[in-house]
Amino acid sequence: MTQAFMAVLARELRLALRRRSEWAQPLVFYAVVATLFALGAAPNAPWLKVAAPSILWVGALLAALLSLDRVFRGDHEDGTLEQLFLSPQPVSLLVAGKLFAQWLVIGLPLTLLAPVLGLGLGMEPNVILVLMLSLLLGMPALILTAGFASALVVGLPRTGVLLPVLVLPLVSPAVVFGAGAVRAAQSGLPAEAPLYFLGAILVLCLCGVPLAAAAALKNALD
């Protein structure tokens, strides 16, 4: 089973390497969103610093969401999905492998870009640390949830805005706790509680989402 998991991971990373431009797009999107918020405010407005947790969290969310539409679509179209279901591996494990690769290629770079954007919006270093921690816990949860939603709509030719509409209500607790942790750090309050809740949400996603996504993919095969 580990061999299959590693094979799925290696395949996804290899595919990402061959489509290098797509790998950079979420990062550019993230930076553009932060810039637009800054442009929409007066130059160096003080409220930007206060709003920064929200902007940076939602921006990362949207950037990851835009790239996750295609996670299963390629495999569905070229018939690989059938092979996955007929293999002796549990499909949930293979799904977990795919989504882990997505986190490595999309989620982790976004998490690493966030401090840079945070500095741009005027955040202090100790707050930036909490921002990174919250994104480190939150982005995997988001990518898992978006993977599940993507599996639900995998057969559809054009999903448009349906995917964000499905995903965003499901990840609202993560946003509340993630951005809340950063705001707590900004006010000088301890940020452990929301971070722990975020961790709990991540664990819940890790346990449940791959199974649900595998069921959704099985449904799409029908």
Partner: protein
């Protein structure tokens, strides 16, 4: 010969629409079940149900071997266009916990050794089909499910496939093949079913 696969009173549906009803039969070692019929009659759906990819609306399918002992070649090739034939087949081996030693040999058997390291999107339709069929040579399995295996294949490809099929039959393997055309060559143990 004991039946490797048998099915009773199958009803196949696509969505709410029932395509086929009351299908019963069996396939034993050395036999080829050729399912024929026009477009849209339900050949692929029937094959999917027999292989276990889908559940039937009614009835049951009994397979006297583990799922891993089948080959499934659908009418889509299961080849990622950005990966090479070698990489695609190697991934398939990893999925089935097999070593990748036979892959180069299988590709050579289907005369794909020259393009084995080019991205699949650069291959022709016939070459992609050969690559998909090369899985049959990578690992030996007692039961084959083939959906329109000969589409886009030229004479050479058809010959290679027939050779594999005959060797497979001699080993006691069975195959269920769908196509809307008659199968070529002189095949023994061939049973034809016309669906309407």
């Amino acid at each position: 010969m004991t039946a490797i696969l048998s099915f009773q009173n199958l009803a196949i549906a696509r969505g709410d629409h029932v395509l086929l009803r009351g299908l019963s039969g069996s396939v034993s070692g050395g036999e080829i079940l050729h399912i024929r019929g026009g477009n849209g009659v339900g050949k692929t759906s029937l094959l999917e149900v027999l292989s276990g990819l889908r559940s039937p609306e009614q009835g049951a399918v009994t397979r006297r071997l583990e799922t891993d002992a089948c080959h499934w070649i659908g009418h889509r090739n299961a080849l990622n266009p950005a990966l090479t034939p070698f990489e695609n087949l190697r991934f398939w081996c990893a999925l089935h916990d097999l070593p990748a030693d036979n892959v180069r040999g299988a590709l050579r058997e289907f005369e794909l050794q020259r393009v084995a390291d080019q991205a699949c999107r650069q291959l022709s339709a016939g070459q992609k089909r050969r690559c998909a069929l090369a899985r049959l040579a990578v690992a030996q399995r007692p039961l084959w499910f083939l959906d329109e295996p000969l589409s886009a294949l030229d004479e050479g490809g058809v010959r290679h496939w027939l050779g594999l099929l005959q060797a497979h039959q001699q080993r006691g393997g069975a195959a269920i093949v769908t196509s809307h055309q008659p199968l070529p060559g002189s095949l023994t143990g061939l049973r034809s079913w016309e669906l309407s």
